[in-house]
């Protein structure tokens, strides 16, 4: 069931989730997206360009974070506008061969603004990894009935 526009209020919480990330996830995202920049899978290359280590694609984090919104909206097509700034890299440590994640991303969302004319709700996402906000101004506009 999709949420009804008239039952929403600004500031309302839409929920939260935890996303565990491994190096394998980054390789999968590289293949699925076509972004093969080695900073996302090769430690020596990443440190060679003055990064702290292998980092997640910003687009992986953005794409995974919005799933909270699509599931809440009950239809992925309801997301008509989605934007973010990438402020901190998500460092993914090498846990290959173990069951441990290489990074953990915490996502939570709240209604930022309601627009009655267009029947849209802006969901503001808070996305944190290793205690730091990794996305800023992460906003998804959802069209609701």
């Amino acid at each position: 069931m999709s949420p009804s526009f008239h039952e929403l209020t600004a500031g309302q919480d839409i929920g939260s989730r935890t996303i565990e990330v491994t190096r394998t996830d980054l390789v999968k995202y590289a293949g699925a997206s076509g972004d093969f920049n080695p900073i996302h899978w090769n430690e020596a290359f990443a440190t060679g360009v003055e990064l702290p280590g292998v980092i997640a694609h910003g687009m992986f984090t953005m794409g995974a974070a919005v799933q909270l919104v699509t599931d809440w909206a009950s239809d992925p097509a309801a997301v008509v506008d989605f934007q973010t700034r990438f402020t901190k890299p998500v460092l993914v440590t090498d846990t290959t061969g173990t069951l441990e994640p290489g990074a953990t991303i915490e996502v939570s969302g709240a209604i930022g603004k309601l627009d009655a004319d267009s029947g849209t709700a802006r969901v503001d996402l808070t996305v944190v990894a290793a205690g730091q906000k990794v996305l800023m101004k992460a906003q998804a506009v959802v069209r609701l009935s």
Binding site: I19, A32, S33, N37, E50, Q67, A77, F86
Partner: protein, 155 residues
């Protein structure tokens, strides 16, 4: 390596067609850990009133980054890909992307500004679906904007 300041205002016309396949939507959805059935099950997508599988909200990045590659790989641009960091991204969907769509992207370089020894470059991809009328006939699907920071030495 320096960024060519004359890039601003440049555009790259729609190049190859991107055919959106069901398996690609499923693969991309799994890669961003999406579980909504409208990405995987045609009947579930149809039950929501869609013609076919619905792409996740950030799927258009595949087409946008292919268009960006024309700029990044342009020797005249002076961009070192290994020093590129994604600074911001926006997707405006004029309509959802569905399996079966045939998409093309026009790339526009909207901004270039020097930052330290590097530069911030803002691009916009206008993504269209080709319709039955052929290449001349197309429907606006999405506008994506992206800023990349090309880090200078020591940045």
């Amino acid at each position: 390596m320096t960024i060519n300041p004359d890039l601003q205002g440049r555009s790259y016309p729609a190049a190859e067609v991107y055919d959106v396949g069901r398996e690609k939507i499923r693969e991309f959805a799994r890669a961003v850990k999406a579980t909504h059935p409208a990405h995987f099950d045609v009947e579930a997508a149809k039950a929501l009133g869609h013609t076919d599988l619905v792409a996740p909200p950030t799927f258009a990045i595949i087409i946008a980054q292919r268009a960006d590659a024309q700029l990044i790989e342009d020797p005249d641009a002076g961009i070192d890909f290994s020093r590129v960091v994604h600074a911001d991204q926006r997707f405006i969907h004029h309509r959802p992307i569905f399996a079966g769509d045939r998409l093309v992207a026009e790339l526009h370089v909207d901004g270039v500004r020097a930052m330290g020894g590097g530069a911030m470059i803002t691009t916009r991809a206008e993504i269209f679906a080709l319709t039955d009328g052929g290449n001349e006939s197309r429907e606006s699907v999405a506008t994506t904007t992206s800023s990349i920071l090309v880090r200078g030495e020591g940045q």
